[in-house]
Symmetry: C2
Subunit: 610 residues, 2 copies
Amino acid sequence: MRLYSLKRLFVGSPLATAQARHERLSKMRGLAVLASDNISIVAYATEEILLVLTAAGTAALSLSVPVALAIAMVVGIVISSYRQTVVAYPEGASGYIVSKDNFGPIAGLTAGSALLIDYTLTVAVSVAAGVAAVTSAFPFLYPHRILLGVLCVGGLAVANLRGVRETGRLFALPTYLFIAGFLGLIAVGFARYLWEGPPAVAAPSLPTVEEAGVGVTAFLLLRAFSSGAVALTGIEAVSDGVKVFKPPEVTNARITLLWIGVITATLFVGVTILADLYRIALREEETVVSQLARQILGGGAGYYFVQVVSTLILILAANTAFADFPRLAFFMSRDSFLPRQFGSRGDRLVFSNGIIILALAAALLIVIFYGSTHALIPLYAVGVFTTFTLSQAGMVRTWFRRKSEARWWWRATINGLGACTTGVVTLVIAWTKFVHGAWMVVVLIPLLISIFYAIHRHYLRTAEQLSLEGYGGPPPIRHTVLVLVGDMHRGVVQALQYARTISPDARGVFVETDPDKTRRLEEKWGKWGCGVPLVVLTSPYRSLLVPFLEYLDHIQAQGENHMVTIVLPEFIPARWWQHLLHNQTALLVKGALLFRKNVVVTDVPYHLAR
Amino acid sequence: MRLYSLKRLFVGSPLATAQARHERLSKMRGLAVLASDNISIVAYATEEILLVLTAAGTAALSLSVPVALAIAMVVGIVISSYRQTVVAYPEGASGYIVSKDNFGPIAGLTAGSALLIDYTLTVAVSVAAGVAAVTSAFPFLYPHRILLGVLCVGGLAVANLRGVRETGRLFALPTYLFIAGFLGLIAVGFARYLWEGPPAVAAPSLPTVEEAGVGVTAFLLLRAFSSGAVALTGIEAVSDGVKVFKPPEVTNARITLLWIGVITATLFVGVTILADLYRIALREEETVVSQLARQILGGGAGYYFVQVVSTLILILAANTAFADFPRLAFFMSRDSFLPRQFGSRGDRLVFSNGIIILALAAALLIVIFYGSTHALIPLYAVGVFTTFTLSQAGMVRTWFRRKSEARWWWRATINGLGACTTGVVTLVIAWTKFVHGAWMVVVLIPLLISIFYAIHRHYLRTAEQLSLEGYGGPPPIRHTVLVLVGDMHRGVVQALQYARTISPDARGVFVETDPDKTRRLEEKWGKWGCGVPLVVLTSPYRSLLVPFLEYLDHIQAQGENHMVTIVLPEFIPARWWQHLLHNQTALLVKGALLFRKNVVVTDVPYHLAR
């Protein structure tokens, strides 16, 4: 009961099934809710590009701008492609469902496992970046970043276990404040640059291209591009959630998608250009965005505003995964690819198990990777682009089956272009980031798929074996009850009475280790045995189990379908610690008999008052 | 079964009860077996005295000799005193039994808890000192001393779980080699000193008395004395084990005791004088004995011999506690002051639980105190001397009740002198070592006593409540069986058949969360319900338990002594991991009903083949 109270404190009172409701959102609110994941990348994507280029020296940093433009182009292509998906799946379509419908379960599971990995990384990366925004503003917190990250994940988990219902209202604000803040930052940044000329700060003391020893190779550029490609994270959110929009849902979703693309591309390219103009150098303890805001806006209110909205939108982005992951797990569990436990709603109407697993996995990643965004990024993008590719390729196939629809060929072409682009990007990322961590995902996806299949197979086989189709009914049984007796006391007498009630063939069984004890027991049995016969087994090795199991074999060998109920008289102490003071014979017997056929083990409890 | 094989590998095949045997020992072997604990202190006691005196500068180190002589005097007194105990308790007498018999349970439990703490510290200190002997010879092992200590404790535990039976034969050798080795070391040491004069080694660069700032106060001397007082550890071993000697047991035990006292005092004082003559300085990584042996014998075979025999006797000393602790735990468990589990012999005829608990506690101490002998010593001596005092004071009382025996007054006087001496020493140790760790023992002993009493009270009350004395027999019962049904499959059909077999009043209970599901179930029930009626309960909050518990209340409210058996149809997967794929409803239901009266919970398993 104490555990239960604790749960209530954190999770709140149970909600009735009838309380489930679905709120529809306007475009304004829909954008706020669905865009946070994608737009939040502005807070860290530029830095990831610079991190790669810095290996080739200061001069190479300027290449960040063309790299960002290339990424913005890919954003454009993918957004256009998903605008077609929305038309085909007005009910909402996750990459798992689109891939499964079009290419069968293997493709579906590939997308599914990639998405599950993605959502976990969304939480880990967003929280790590959010914590980085905080520790940039308050450097004394930097040593505690792992703890802060884990606490943040825990807080999100608790909030989601309670059920975050104010989705639209509360969550619109940070997204729009973030957009406003970053548009302001970019505007002031450009204005000051034009007005005051290049900043007077000392150029960072990085080696020049020649000194660095690493030339600007095509591989380096591709690697920078791969790092920046995280900028596409979360684009699929709108196509998953078409139904949350007010009617006309499809039109609203398409318009929202377009806006998300425009906003992300603008802010991302803007920040990248500014970082170049203001010659921002990479620092371990302060993010690029924080340095930029400090230089452009000074260290005052403007600066803190940018840091606060960055943190808020990143937490919001992490929060989206807490809705997406459990929902996908629910779909996969419904198809028997994940354990049933992911399919049931808790008493607050949320998929509690999915939330808990996601939180544990994300917290583990934060701890393992020391709460570093940079370390997590290489794992991130592979999964994202794998899903994009499968999902869009699936759409091409969908259009070919829906040739009756208007402009199907145009939509198929756009989806095809999207699939090819993201397919190439997937390979580029897997190649250039392989040694930096992408290999883990490359290994993990097939591993997860085989686990999902093993689960599926188990459920199918279980259903087959339990099916009533063609079942002839259970055979008639003979029933014997054995009461395992170690001593004679009230609990045993009660158990004997119970045994006699449930079967005419009840026997007491005593394993002898000391003949004197047997004599004392037999004396008491005459008076208290309830008329049940007593069987005494000898045990030269003092083992309780071995002689008992032999006797059981002996009984069951007498005929098939001989059901044996083993009654264990057990007294239940009044307090938990008192359990430690008694031999756990019952547990031992149950463990030994768990896999035995036609045996039922029953504790008959005798409750102690104190 | 795999766990079982692992146990066999480490612990060996079970032994029959008839295989228990008792070997009697000659004086020679008896000394070897019973003396190791006491004699082994020569390997570290001198160092502990020097460690305290060093605070007062180099010159103060010479005070170690008078301190050692004072300790040797106490050894003499205590040995004389225990020689009287042996006469009174020829059956052997642990401090626990002597104190309990003479002063009642509180004194007995005080001695008992002090002894349990002692034995644990014997293992921890001896192993730590043994490892120090090894790392002194092989300094590259020094960083791994904690691991080595833990491995050594683990090895001793495994050996004792198997049953170390070759007690006399195998164990005589190290003790005599140790005595021979140290006598040799002392002889050569004095000879070389007389021949070659004071060693030419540079005096250690310690501050002189004046510089050190700490004067040679009486408190410092008492503290040095307290540290050296560990030299009395293990003296009680002979009086505990009188019965292991060949007849005449008492005479043999008394002679052996005398010899142990002479040997320990000689070696201990000898090493202390040599350490002073050779101006041994304290070093973190090398023991005083190792430095002494290196200087006197050079770094060759003689040196390694001394280190090897030191290690062996210390391990032997630790091993004695593995016999003593479980035996004391057995006595205390027989008196219901410790859990019953300590009272049963495992299948190798040893008290397995006592061995395991001792090993865990000692390993924990080694880890917590970084495997340092110095850190453990302050905890050690308080317990040792508390037991001495109680045990000898008990003997005084014994003699006053046995006034008929010859020379009772003489024996009483000697025991009285012993009790007074050790009583004063106990206070001195508790006072001078309080802040260094003795406080833990001062706190722990009353804590343990209260735990022992709580355990005792629980067993008494349990026995009372279960006693058949004045028991009127169980009331006649009404019996209802409820089969908790979630779905309709072969396992449920089998459970229904079982329910019908054990009671004419069997009912199926289904908790409805979805009316469609209820309809489907009811359809199947007609064909497969085995004639058992179906009860459908509604659940607005999707909880399975709450409506079910309410229904149970309702049934049981109909009359007293209404026994309800709850049958849970459970299918058992073929492999362990598959358990994770099914809701653990059975566990949940059992947990909720654990403390409920007149309710029996029964799983009826249906075994899946694959």
